[in-house]
Amino acid sequence: MRLKFFANDSESAAIVAVLAAVTLIIPLCNLIFPPGSPLYFSAYSVSLIGKYLTFALLALSLDLVWGYCGILALGQGAFFTLGGYAMGMYLMRQIGTRGVYGDPLLPDFMVFLDWQVLPWYWLGFDYFPFALLMMLAVPALLAFVFGWLAFRSRVTGVYLSIITQALTYALMLAFFRNEMGFGGNNGLTDFKELLGFNLQADSTRIMLLMSSGTALIAAFLACRRLMQSKLGRVVTALRDQESRVRFLGYRVEMFKLWVFVFAAMLAGIAGALYVPQVGIINPGEFSPLNSLEIVVWVAVGGRGTLYGAIIGAILVNYGKTVLTGLLPEIWLFTLGAVFIVVTVMLPDGLMGLWLRKTGRAGL
């Protein structure tokens, strides 16, 4: 059954196996081995790996939109960041009286701004199920409204890319403003606990890593199911010949819209899992540059394969961690160079190269 499920797709089987191993073995190592042993993962590396997993989930979401629908979205980071803010708002409200000003209701930055009441849109965020709903609903709603307008008016190509970029840029400018009530350029930080678990504790970090791994595996399988359905074939067809698909009677804009919304929700989950592991969310995450980086991850791994996006995200981010540790100034140049090399020499990314080598590349 299991073998049949992954028939002719050993890459997918392999990626699920590796992700499952990461999700289970790291926690096991930390249970079995004492701190100081080489097989014990430090709190720092646990959070780092957890962060990579959320980036991989984010890359996966972009692959749906770019690799399958052919929409080069340069604003995928916006949905990630909104999911992150929803989580951040929940975490802020968990601080309670432990903030610097000790206000039971208002987060520190609001007290600092001399606000008297909690803005209405912060209501309910102390309740985790509501916050969870918002992590999905806010990105989904934005994607729905944006996609509805853009796809129905048949904006495509470069124009669409530019407006996705403008979208995330506009959100960044808005969230920088103190009056917006999201902490201005400092964002939300100084979180204490999540569902009652201390965020500084190693066990919490491990739980977060396991949640990220599980979410990534589940999302990967869901995306794979989606793209192996007839809907996936419609989407692949419209990527290459959009107008032809319309003449078969399919409402192309609806297909793009629902995939875009689903991808935004995945990005929202990624952002929500990212925030407690890095301990902060600020408007910088909306920066257009971040969204461009996601495109590079997917391009490096190879779009339109799902696992390529995961591999690309993890490789590039690992490279980034290493390089910024050694020579922080050159990271952006390296990223640009990587993008150029991949675009010119490896248009299908590393996975495209692999599939060609093993004789399974399509057209």
Binding site: S229, V234, A237, R246, L248, W258
Partner: protein
């Protein structure tokens, strides 16, 4: 409260997209009415006050020199191009100018493009699967499973277009002639009422042309078929009634013999 909200089987329009509610009414025997249709591109009149009627179940050939407006005519019928003036009706009751491409296709008007446009990345089988006459909403396709009869239908069409042996092959690897046939197969899968077939035999070998002629002839009666073609021998082999287009209007209509002896037609073709 609105019933739609309590009915668990109700599908909202924004999920499904508008569909034509009324079935097409062809009791006067006419499938397509085009009346005084004009289309201009930057002042150039691609269609000029064109009127044309296609009967239900007829096989009509449309000929005319390059640039006569044949493809533009198909673009107008299928919703790709909006005419500047005129009216286009499907049967007596359906105003095609009020509909967009998917709605027109769902109503039963399908076309084969001049330039073969199959889905290169999908297999031959998958190309036909997508074209199949089934519900085409996003949600339905997500959970769609091929039923036995649907599979049989695909097999049948694969046989008809002689691509059974290539069913798993990516369509992009097919020869030009095979792509042409696959597109005819795509057309057949949609089970349309009206088929618009733009240059079906371009680039085909002599034998392939003959088979295509047989195939199109076999559709007569069940479908209204409009065929655009430059290959006069092919047109002669299938035509009952031929319409000649010139500079965006109908020059004349008649049997192949009448057409070929019409001095105006000779003038148009030789004057080129």
């Amino acid at each position: 409260m609105n019933n739609a909200f309590i009915d668990r089987y109700h599908t909202f329009d924004f999920v499904r997209g508008p569909v034509v509610s009324a079935p097409v009414d062809v009791k006067h025997g006419v499938a397509l009415y085009l009346e005084e249709v004009s289309v201009s591109f930057d002042g150039f009149k691609a269609l000029n006050n064109l009127s044309l009627y296609i009967n239900d179940g007829e096989l009509r050939c449309l000929i005319g020199p390059n640039g006569a407006g044949k493809t533009t005519l198909m673009d107008v019928i299928t919703g790709k191009t909006r005419p500047d003036s005129g009216s286009v009706y499907y049967g007596q009751n359906i105003d095609l100018l009020a509909m967009d491409e998917p709605a027109i296709a769902q109503a039963g008007i399908c076309r084969k493009f001049q330039k073969p446009s199959v889905f290169d990345k999908l297999s031959v089988f998958e190309n036909l699967e997508l074209a199949m006459n089934a519900e085409k909403g996003a949600w339905t396709t997500l959970f769609a499973e091929l039923s036995g009869p649907q599979r049989d239908r695909i097999d049948e069409v694969l046989d008809l277009i002689d691509l059974s042996l290539h069913r798993r092959q990516q369509a992009g690897f097919l020869s030009h002639g095979q792509k042409q046939w696959l597109e005819i197969g795509i057309l057949l899968m949609q089970e349309p009422k009206v088929m618009l077939v733009d240059e079906p035999v371009a680039g085909m070998t002599h034998q392939e042309v003959e088979r295509t002629a047989e195939l199109l002839l076999s559709l007569r009666g069940r479908h209204s078929v409009v065929v655009v073609e430059h290959d006069m021998e092919f047109v002669r082999s299938i035509a009952h009634k031929v319409t000649v287009l010139h500079e965006g209007s109908v020059l004349t209509e008649g049997t192949m013999d009448e057409i070929q002896n019409d001095p105006r037609v000779i003038q148009v073709y030789l004057g080129d």
